[in-house]
Amino acid sequence: MGFVTYIIKRFLLLIPILLGVTFITYVISRVTVPNVARAWAGPRAGPQALAALSARYHLNDPVYIQYFYYMKDLVTGDWGISPTTGRPVLYDLKIFFPATVELAIAAVIITIIIGIPTGILAAIYHNKKIDHSIRFLYLAGFSSPPFLVGLVMLLLFAYIFKIFPTEGELSSSLAPPLRITGMFIVDSLLTGNWVDLRDSLWHIILPATALALTYFGVVTRITRSSMLEVLQKDFIRASYAKGLSKRSVIYKHAVRNAMIPTTTVLGLLLGALLSGTIVIETIFLWPGIGYYAVLSIESLNFPSVMGVTILFTISVILANLLADLLYAVIDPRITV
């Protein structure tokens, strides 16, 4: 089919989903919410402000006109004004988003480091004690509310053992690095700011690990089951028949094939991780959009909450797309 055609096809499939998603957010934002104007203007807005807002968002017009303007605003970047800060929501999001991206990437890395080897081990020692212990561990992680692991780690490693800092992205005594991407670790690296680099790395470990420990089961489970499946295949037997060593067969052939279905789970993983960041950022005072969302909820800042919703959802959809593309790169059967 060709790689490029595949990419284009996948992109095109995105469009109806995006349309559907934005329609639902429209319904939530403007239709089902009681007292739309109040919700969007904030609790302190006066009658004049309310009227102005109603006019601006065409709140009194019929549904289809309203929807048209909603979509237009969405696409042009007008996601509403935050009543608490007075700034456009998108502007606020741009400030907070990089920190979440950084946290999510760190969490994904740690999750993969924990998840894949445990999945492979569990498959190789199928049904033995190792397998059962690993499965119980990730089940426990999965069944934990995201705040449990976070709180326990915070208590143990930050307060009791005092190894890691208790909150934030950077020690308050340090100045943040020059803002290029907004991600402190990346920016420190790019500007050669080693002090900030070490400090921000130290800050990210605890929250990222808390996330990883909660959700690594997603990766372990699929790695294990796809390893088990692959180990049954004919070409594994044929590889042994060729005289390849057990190590070669497992790590060169079995693992490589087993990794293919694992990429499909990346989208799911990111969705879970992003949901988890809402809680983790609150516990660790990590200034990302999860933290921003919770602050907005507390201050009845509805436009911001909807902004975060849209941003989160688009991120997960794109992550799924990325996972599909990665799958196509790894598995030659799809595009060659």
Binding site: G20, S143, F147, L151, A293, V308, T309
Partner: protein, 295 residues
């Protein structure tokens, strides 16, 4: 090919029981899950009367006490017994979980069986809508709806149901497709039975058991998400006890009174694991290979 269930079969039940009994893990999970429901029910029926301490009374003299024989899990910042509050939260979490899962199953059953049986345009539309809902991360969708409606337990139920019904719709549709092709159904169609009758009498009874198994697994998951909603302020409101809410109330005392936030969080962990393990065992009950082994 799935065996068509036309009536409740005593022998099938015996096999089911044997399978469940065979794994001590499943039994343990089931026991805890059942215990949770029993506690929830008793607390609810008795109107909190059976709890060791009153859940709402504030006693400034005994705030933040460590766990002791008198207070098994200590007291909170308003002097309330934490153990009682944790138990009192059981009916609330149970109510939310059962309502959400119940509505999701019913909605999914109806929409999924129609989609699977009728097919064509109707199926397309239903499944596209399902896909769109599934594109949202669950917590995020619930968060958006709950914040738009306002924080309350009832609104949480309304917010959580749209997160769960799509998966049940998908499941019901898949099951319907596999039942649809069986001879019993073909025969009914040939005789000229009405679509509604076929769906109600033949399709639905055969797909309900599978859906219920997944529903059982999901009870724990709903409690997990609902507790997060309450943690961030959108679910249960103070002074109502709810595990996620209790944890967030105790967060500030993490260092001085760690039992305060951690105990309710552990309660969630235990219940969620229990339902998960039990659900896994239930899944074996559905697996025809496993059934063959035990017959």
């Amino acid at each position: 090919m799935k065996k068509l269930r036309t009536s409740i079969d005593a022998q099938e039940l015996a096999i089911t029981w044997r399978i469940l009994r065979s794994s001590s893990i499943t039994l343990a999970g089931g026991a805890i899950a059942l215990g949770f429901l029993v506690i929830a029910l008793s607390v609810w029926i008795s109107g909190n009367a059976i709890l060791p301490y009153n859940v709402y009374t504030i006693s400034p003299a005994s705030t933040l006490q460590a766990p002791s024989l008198a207070h098994l899990l200590g007291t909170d910042d308003l002097g309330r017994d934490i153990f009682s509050r944790i138990l009192a939260a059981a009916p609330i979490d149970a109510e939310v979980a059962l309502s959400v899962v119940g509505s999701a199953v019913i909605l999914g059953l109806i929409l999924g069986s129609i989609a699977g049986y009728v097919g064509g345009r109707v199926e397309e539309i239903i499944m596209r809508v399902t896909d769109v809902f599934l594109a949202f991360p669950g917590l995020v969708l619930a968060l958006a709806i709950a914040s738009s409606l306002g924080p309350s337990i009832f609104h949480s139920i309304l917010a959580l149901t749209p997160v769960w019904w799509p998966s049940y719709t998908r499941l019901a549709r898949a099951e319907t497709l596999s039942v649809k092709s069986q001879q019993y159904v073909e025969a009914s169609r040939a005789v000229g039975q009405r679509v509604r009758h076929i769906i109600l009498a033949h399709i639905i009874p055969n797909i309900i058991p599978d859906l219920l198994v997944y529903a059982t697994l999901d009870i724990g998951n709903v409690i997990l998400v609902f507790s997060v909603l309450s943690f961030i302020g959108l679910g249960a409101q103070p002074p109502t006890p709810e595990w996620g809410l209790l944890t967030s109330q105790g967060e500030s005392y993490l260092v001085s009174a760690p039992w305060y936030p951690i105990a309710p969080a552990v309660a969630i962990l235990i219940i969620a694991i229990a339902f998960s393990l039990f659900g896994d065992g239930l899944r074996d009950v559905l697996d025809p290979k496993v059934r063959g082994l035990f017959s």
